[in-house]
């Protein structure tokens, strides 16, 4: 049972980083900076609970704010470029953040032990959950409450004017600009929102593993982050969560019986999925069919 609980925890955390990339991809930007924001959230929240003795919830919010602020600052220069150049620029940013934490020392003696980030050795003993008596189930509930709040906000945003504006920029920048939409403002706003969500994800991740190191936040995590929304399809935020379930649940855990050979099939299955469904698992047509199935939203909106 604990195995499945732990798996659901991982899925929740990956859902957050996938959703952070989803917001940015809606505006047509492929960002590999999400792992950097995730790292910032992880270190900020870890330092606040361990060194400053904060409760996790304010630390989580602070981590989201800091990561969002960094995303805002990075967004202005980064979003002057697009396409492949943005991929490279955000990769460079993500790697720079990782290297920063590789060299980052800030240790304080607490109860005779030195705690805090220590460069290449990482940041150990982020023990908010065990110290406060959280069981695996409690942690799981905590993670999914955060995922639920983020999903609800995204769902609400998608139905509001903001979602339409984001998608308009993603579909056709020129047309959006002609409608009087400020492209930079929209893209930077999406980047900031993505940064906040990734910051939440990082904060939870740090407390879930209790030990973070710079190489947890490399380009592989960043690529996973954009793979989720692409694989899931951009019609709804649910697509991203479906893709996380597909990759983390089915491909990574479901194929564990294959042992070391798992990654071989993992790669092949993702390629197969992308070939069969280039617009994602939950593409527009499937979303429409599902909506009809549940008897909502059919004719008026989609016809």
């Amino acid at each position: 049972m604990d195995f499945y609980l732990a798996l659901l925890q991982v899925i929740g955390i990956h859902a957050l980083i996938g959703l952070s990339a989803y917001v940015v991809i809606l505006t047509g930007q492929v960002s590999l900076a999400q792992a950097g924001f995730f790292a910032i959230g992880a270190y900020v929240a870890g330092m606040l609970t361990v060194l400053a003795g904060w409760h996790l919830i304010p630390a989580l919010l602070a981590a989201g704010l800091v990561a969002g602020a960094v995303a805002f600052l990075v967004g202005f220069p980064a979003l002057r470029v697009k396409g492949l150049m943005l991929v490279v620029a955000t990769t460079a940013f993500g790697e720079a953040v990782r290297l920063f934490f590789f060299n980052f020392d800030y240790q304080v003696a607490k109860g005779g032990v030195r705690v805090g980030p220590l460069g290449g050795e990482g940041f150990k003993q982020i023990r908010f959950f065990p110290e406060n008596g959280y069981t695996t189930l409690d942690v799981l509930v905590f993670i999914w409450v955060v995922v639920g709040v983020v999903m609800a906000l995204l769902w609400w945003m998608d139905r509001s004017r903001a979602g339409a504006v984001l998608r308009a920029v993603g579909e056709d920048e020129l047309a959006a600009q002609a409608m009087g939409i400020d492209l930079t403002a929209v893209k930077v706003a999406a980047m900031t929102a993505g940064g906040v969500i990734a910051g939440f994800g990082g904060a939870i991740y740090a407390h879930y593993t209790t030990h973070i190191e710079h190489f947890n936040f490399g380009i592989v995590l960043a690529t996973f982050a954009i793979a989720y929304p692409i694989l899931g399809g951009l019609s709804t935020a649910f697509g991203t969560v479906v893709a996380v379930l597909f990759i983390q649940g089915l491909l990574i855990e479901g194929l564990r019986f294959l042992g070391d050979w798992r990654n071989l099939l993992f790669g092949a299955l993702i390629v197969l999925a992308m070939n069969l469904r280039p617009h994602g698992l939950l593409d527009a047509a499937t979303t429409l069919r599902l909506r009809r199935l549940f008897g909502r939203g059919g004719a008026g909106r989609d016809a």
């Binding site: 492929v30 220069p77 980064a78 002057r80 470029v81 697009k82 396409g83 492949l84 150049m85 943005l86 991929v87 490279v88 620029a89 990769t91 460079a92 940013f93 790697e95 720079a96 290297l99 920063f100 590789f102 060299n103 490399g218 380009i219 592989v220 690529t223 954009i226 793979a227 692409i230 694989l231 070391d260 050979w261 990654n263 071989l264 993992f266 790669g267 092949a268 993702i270 390629v271 992308m274 070939n275 280039p278 617009h279």
Partner: protein, 289 residues
């Protein structure tokens, strides 16, 4: 001053290999307009094959390089068929995600077949460094830069003087017009892709031969260096890729000397960010080379 000159010499030497890696990206991007995230993994597979040939069969330097090139091109064919040929042109992000999945797969194959952290690669030259007026120059690095320069000259000649080069430039400039003139963009794209993998394999072999070893992290490293060098010089430009590679080498070696090893990559990334900001990411036409 002497330090600056020495660092710059070292930087130019390693920069030659960076330039080859950057050219690998530029060629694929120029013709296909797509990013191949599996590039580093393809190079890694080639290098592991070279190291295996050296270890198990006792092949020398040239044999190992040949094995590296052959396997890199074969792995490139695999990636091209699965991720790029199969997906429609409109799905360029789907192709990128697919190439990411194949990157994981290739790296896993390499790690499963050869599980040690490092493997020996035949050394380029055992000769001692030349000393002159306080400066030193490693012959093997000089040889690496010379081979890289030769490869780049050959590439330039191919693109300008052969029918294949003409067709490739036509596809890069105007795919539709090229098609009307009887060129098949998909075939040219595949050929350029394989050529790019071969260049990547050569760059990898040179670097591995200078270090006389190869590690599993090489793939990731090669991909990052190639991407950064390509972007520094201006995406899509062939002289730009060469200049970007050399510039990256010089900047890194100076940053390492004056600021310390931990700053080397941060300085390179910061500079890349500045260049992108300043240039606003304008693409230079690939054909004006």
């Amino acid at each position: 001053m002497l330090d600056l000159i020495q660092n710059t010499i070292d930087g130019v030497m390693i920069g030659g290999a960076y330039a080859l890696l950057a050219l690998g990206f530029t060629l694929t991007f120029g013709v296909m307009r797509r990013l191949n995230l599996a590039f580093g993994a393809i190079v890694l597979c080639g290098l592991y094959a070279g190291a295996a040939a050296h270890q198990a069969l006792g092949w020398g330097l040239l044999g190992s390089i040949a094995a590296t090139l052959a396997v890199a091109v074969a792995a490139g064919l695999y990636v091209e068929r699965l991720c790029f040929r199969a997906l429609a042109e409109s799905a360029s992000i789907a192709a990128m995600v697919s190439s990411f999945a194949i990157w994981m797969q290739l790296e896993e194959i390499a790690a499963l077949l050869m599980p040690r952290r490092t493997y020996a690669y035949p050394a380029l030259s055992e000769a001692r460094p030349w000393e002159w007026a306080g400066l030193s120059l490693r012959p093997d690095q000089l040889a690496m830069a010379a081979v890289a320069l030769g490869a780049m000259a050959a590439l330039g000649w191919t693109l300008r003087r052969t029918r294949f080069g003409l067709a490739a430039r036509a596809v890069a400039t105007a795919p539709l017009a090229a098609r009307l003139a009887g060129i098949e963009p998909a075939r040219i794209g595949s050929a350029m892709f394989l050529l790019a993998c071969g260049l990547g394999g050569l760059a990898g072999a040179l670097i591995a031969a200078v270090d006389s070893q190869v590690t599993i992290k090489f793939g990731m490293w090669a991909m990052l260096k190639g991407l950064v060098a390509m972007t520094l010089g201006g995406i899509g430009s062939i002289p730009g890729a060469v200049i970007g590679g050399l510039a990256l080498g010089v900047i890194e070696s100076n940053a390492q000397w004056y600021l310390g090893a931990e700053w080397r990559d941060i300085v390179a990334y910061g500079l890349l960010f500045a260049v992108l900001y300043w240039r606003r990411g304008r693409e230079r036409p690939w054909t004006n080379s």
